[in-house]
Amino acid sequence: MSGRISRAGLLVILAFLVPVIVEFRTLAALFGVSLSVGQYLVAVTGLVMAVLLAVTAWNLRAGTTADDHTGGA
């Protein structure tokens, strides 16, 4: 798989993250971690940044190796 992730694809990925973000504290509690509201905000901001970085990295890598999907979004 070498295709770039389009902006539409990114939008859908971020939409899929919403349930995780919304219930992040519940999720953490399942693993015995209780988060304060401040910690929660930092954690989900980090999560979103991480996904954005991962997508950017993926697209940079795909952009240098792909020969058929260079159009992007």
Binding site: M1, V12, V22, R25, A73
Partner: protein, 574 residues
């Protein structure tokens, strides 16, 4: 060319201009209901949580009735009749037999909606003695104005006539053609047979009890009986909302994904299962009703659990068809084929997200169906949380997405903005994730549904890890996003229609299934057999409970005074 294919180069409205007009009228009726219903929805969301309360809390229930009736009766069923007319016409590739008859049933449905709508809106004006603050379920002894019941009856008669129209097309097609019923027509016919069986309950309830009672011909009704008759209709109606979405997922979504339906025979099996199993389950809405023996509830529960089967089979077929489409588009790998799907197309993304949300709604539905866990969530906010995923997303979002796809072939207009369309469907998904998630969680801690002010004097809800304020915020933000999403949807459509007609055509042919109807046994098309089995199951599930209810309380009792009346309950107090 099989009958499943329509030449891609000819638009539906060119081939069937009269039918296209009826389809457009039906869809627009649906969208008017959607707009008003959505407005009622945001008023409720903000009122409940206490953020904005510009209506009186007593009027909340008028708004709620409007929201329920317009969205789950008018929006869903007007869309359904439009889509089914399109589907039968194109899959049989023949015009309707008599376009005047077609317009007649459409206008009958409009008349019914207007009658019921006037009765509901009358509830806002105290000086007019007309109201129908009875919510979508109209449980007696809450009483609505006769116009409400009459409107409902007229609307349902309209749908019956519509069904006759489609059956007639098929009967004539059958006398001129050999072979299997084309898949889309098969889906329409089985859905309508289910509908005929299901509406018997509400028709008896309205015509023999509620309408005469609201007119003063009879003094009282048996509240448990009319309630049971309502739910006899009230569960299959949810599948009636869902069937057009299934039709789209089976016959349109694979094509949008770039592929073909995985299996035509399994699609037929699924619709037959819905026809058989949709009705003998209604008592699962009455798990907590006194006056119905546990054994009857158990029967409804097992039938309900087996009703999961067609939906689980659908999940497989739809995902398999999407994967096939993705691989046709060059997708590879175990999961990376997902990236090859046309996510930029709002029609695709909307339907895919709707299907995903339906899976989540299915899981909360399994909890509802679990007879004893149901105690925990019955009539809490969990329940609307559940059905905003099913009818509110699986159905509503699929309809909106399908509209983007249908638009050119019905109106010769391109969608004004695909980007807005994409934002709109994603916004619906995000809004519903927030709102429905919060509603489910609120239900688990006991916050009730159908309440203008779920804030009480004597105690506070314990929301556990979260807080009630956080859940309220999720409902308010989610509800707002959903409302904005509807505005974007309607705006995008209206602007599209103002644009100039497009030149040329668009390819809207639907390729046949990978495994075609020739792989399925002929017996699947034996509709009389399935109707007989469906009726038998209904008799088994309902004859004893209804017999017992009538034996215990009588056909018209043990009732009480109707409400609203002039505070007659005070007499009982003193």
């Amino acid at each position: 060319m099989t009958s499943e294919e329509l030449p891609g180069e000819e638009l539906f409205l060119d081939r069937f201009p009269d039918e296209a007009q009826v389809v457009r009228a039906s869809l627009w009726s649906a969208f008017v209901a959607l707009g008003i219903g959505a407005l009622a929805g945001i008023v409720q969301a903000l009122h409940r949580v206490g953020y904005v309360r510009f209506i009186d809390s007593a009027d909340y229930y008028t708004v709620l009735t409007l929201h329920g009736v317009l969205l789950v009766i008018s929006f869903t069923i007007f869309f359904l009749v439009g889509l089914f007319t399109w589907a039968v016409t194109r899959s049989l590739d023949r015009p309707v037999e008599n376009i005047r008859f077609t317009w007649a049933w459409y206008l009958t449905m409009v008349a019914g909606t207007v009658l019921a709508g006037v009765a509901i809106l009358g509830g806002f004006v105290d000086s007019i003695p007309i109201s129908a603050d009875v919510l979508f379920t109209f449980y007696a002894p809450l009483q609505a104005h006769p116009l409400f019941y009459a409107g409902l009856a007229v609307f349902i008669i309209g749908t019956w006539l519509a069904g006759f129209d489609w059956f007639r097309s098929w009967w004539i097609w059958r006398s001129e053609n050999d072979g299997r019923i084309p898949l889309q027509t098969f889906m329409v016919l089985t859905s309508m047979l289910m509908w005929y069986i299901a509406t018997i309950g509400v028709a008896i309830s309205v015509v023999f009890f509620l309408l005469p009672w609201s007119l003063g011909i009879i003094d009282q009704v048996n509240p448990l009986l009319t309630r049971t008759l309502f739910w006899y209709f009230g569960h299959p109606v949810v599948y009636f909302w869902l069937m057009p979405a299934y039709l789209l997922w089976y016959t349109v979504l694979p094509s949008i994904s770039g592929g073909r339906l995985f299996s035509d025979p399994l699609a037929r099996v699924v619709f037959v299962l819905f026809l058989i199993l949709s009705t003998p389950v209604g008592i699962h809405h009455q798990y907590l009703d006194p006056g119905i023996a546990e054994g009857f509830k158990f029967i409804a529960m097992t039938n309900t659990m087996f009703l999961l089967l067609p939906s689980l089979l659908t999940a497989f077929t739809v995902v398999a068809s999407m994967e096939h489409g993705a691989r046709q588009r060059g997708g590879e790998g175990y999961l990376s084929w997902l990236g090859a799907l046309p996510w930029r197309d709002p029609a695709f993304t909307g339907m895919a997200l709707a299907g995903l949300m339906f899976a989540a709604g299915g899981f909360s539905g399994m909890v509802n169906a679990g007879m004893n866990i149901n105690y925990l969530i019955h009539n809490t906010l969990w329940v609307p949380g559940h059905f905003h995923l099913t009818v509110g997303t699986a159905v509503a979002l699929t309809f909106m997405a399908a509209t983007y796809w249908l638009l050119p072939q019905l109106t010769r207009r391109r969608l004004y903005s695909r980007t807005i369309g994409l934002f709109q469907v994603v916004m619906w998904f995000v809004g519903m994730v927030l709102m429905s998630n919060a509603m489910h969680r609120a239900g688990l801690v006991g916050i009730p549904r159908r309440t203008a002010e779920p804030q009480y004097d004597g105690f506070a809800f314990d929301a556990g890890l979260s807080s009630v304020a956080e859940l309220d915020a999720q409902v308010a933000i989610g509800g707002t996003l959903l409302f904005v999403s509807v505005v974007l949807f309607l705006g995008n459509l209206i602007i599209s229609l103002l644009e100039d007609p497009m030149e040329g055509t668009v390819d809207r042919s639907l390729p046949p299934a990978l495994s075609g109807p020739e792989d399925s046994p002929e017996v699947l098309d034996n509709l009389s057999l399935w109707v007989a089995i469906a009726l038998l199951l209904v008799l088994l599930a309902y004859s004893l409970p209804i017999g017992a209810i009538v034996a215990d309380g009588g056909l018209f009792g043990p009732g009480t005074e109707s409400y609203p009346v002039v505070l007659s309950w005070l007499e009982v107090v003193t």
